[in-house]
């Protein structure tokens, strides 16, 4: 019953593509698990842009006095993509709470359906003193509208 307006995005998927670059692999030529988390951040950036939010004013906004740091992240890595491969990232909002957003990521081969990796990232709204606060209205409303 709480936050009835924040559901339109449910089920909506944002897709972006990432190439496994030279510095993204481990010494054996497959994606270093750390790189997945970088890819996830990039997927969030693209997601925000599609919703009309500039990442550089959303992760931290001095004027509006808020920040949206990532306070938790998780990933499971199922198949080993190699240097040069293209991955499709499917990004969803798994949950919007009054003070937090949880993104969910799935990685697939560019044109395939086999899950390569999956993960989540939790962002929490904070004020200038680094205290948890309500999600800024502008972020909430931007994420509440369909982008497809």
């Amino acid at each position: 019953m709480t936050e009835p307006k924040i559901t339109p995005l449910e089920g909506e998927v944002h897709r972006t593509t990432v190439r496994v670059r030279f510095g993204d692999t481990d010494p054996y030529g497959i994606v270093y698990f750390v790189s997945y988390f970088r890819y996830c951040h990039r997927a969030i950036e693209e997601f925000l842009r599609v919703c009309g939010l500039k990442p550089e004013e959303t992760f931290k906004n001095v004027q509006e006095g808020f920040g949206l740091p990532i306070v938790e992240a998780w990933g499971r890595f199922r198949r080993p993509p190699k240097y040069g491969e293209l991955l499709r990232i499917e990004t969803r909002i798994q949950e919007i709470r009054s003070k937090a957003i949880i993104f969910r990521f799935e990685f697939y081969p560019e044109t395939g359906r086999e899950l390569v990796a999956e993960g989540t990232a939790n962002l929490v709204a904070i004020d200038a003193a680094w205290r948890v606060r309500e999600l800024p209205e502008l972020v909430k409303s931007a994420l509440s509208h369909s982008f497809t």
Copy 2:
């Protein structure tokens, strides 16, 4: 009752220190969450060395026909360390299963006791065909002895 010999390390903590470097922060000068996962890998490397295992022969060992990829990772980031700070990483083996090892990490200020961040990383033993297999005996026995 299974694997009775693999408990000595329980409770043992390996400590290492990491400095927040220039490329490790986000645009606002605090640790980029992705960097924590790099620090975790580094902590595993140091942990292995203390146990007598060379990381470069442990994460992948062509001669012995095994690999130990990280298949899952998680982190929670509580306080924002800044560029230049020293962090103490406390690394433990949270669990050794017949085919997997779970490391646990805690980050603290160099000389403080306030938890800055925490995380886990799951490694699974695979064979040359990338199939799950028993942990190599040499890894198992090296990790089963106290290093303090």
Copy 3:
């Protein structure tokens, strides 16, 4: 008189775009100089692809017994792009020698003409024993044809 066929690319420019990502900046929010070198490698990858060369078979090719490591790199950084900015990279082959290729890079704002940064990267052909050798014919001929 030597290598008369390897000039068609002279003057030809390959353009690609790179976004300054979250992990690419220094603690003050501007591009970390190290990131430029990553961008340069990415520009080489795109350049090779446009020429019909797969980077994953060009930087090292076990079957053909050659490698093309970067043995020298240089960069000058004139203006400080910020997190979130789009940069246009203009990549040229500055010189093809019998055993080496020198790429030249220029960075501009996505739609501007003010030079943001510039650099070069020298690649040398080596054999499986890491000895300098002639450029592989397949690389030479691919780079000798116009891609525009």
Copy 4:
């Protein structure tokens, strides 16, 4: 005759050690050339600390109104160190000008004398408006005293 006091460091070498980490290599297990530039920055940080300068107050100092960005960098990479190797970095001030500092780096195997790689980095003093200015007195004097 100009800047007669800024020579004591000439010839002085600062040594630090860096381990080739999991994410530092290319897909073939040898140091990615980009990583050398990260190592160089780290060497500058250690150099500054030995001179009594905190890097976090030296690369940018809001209170004193100056910055010291790296405006040029160069590297030559002679031998391919592998994942897990220890490298010794020898760092020198190659030149101090009235408005700039040039660092020089040499990479060796931890206990060997064969040059693995070498490079330089040029730092320029700027004011809050990003205009070139004289080196801050505190930086100049700190770098002018022997640290051995």
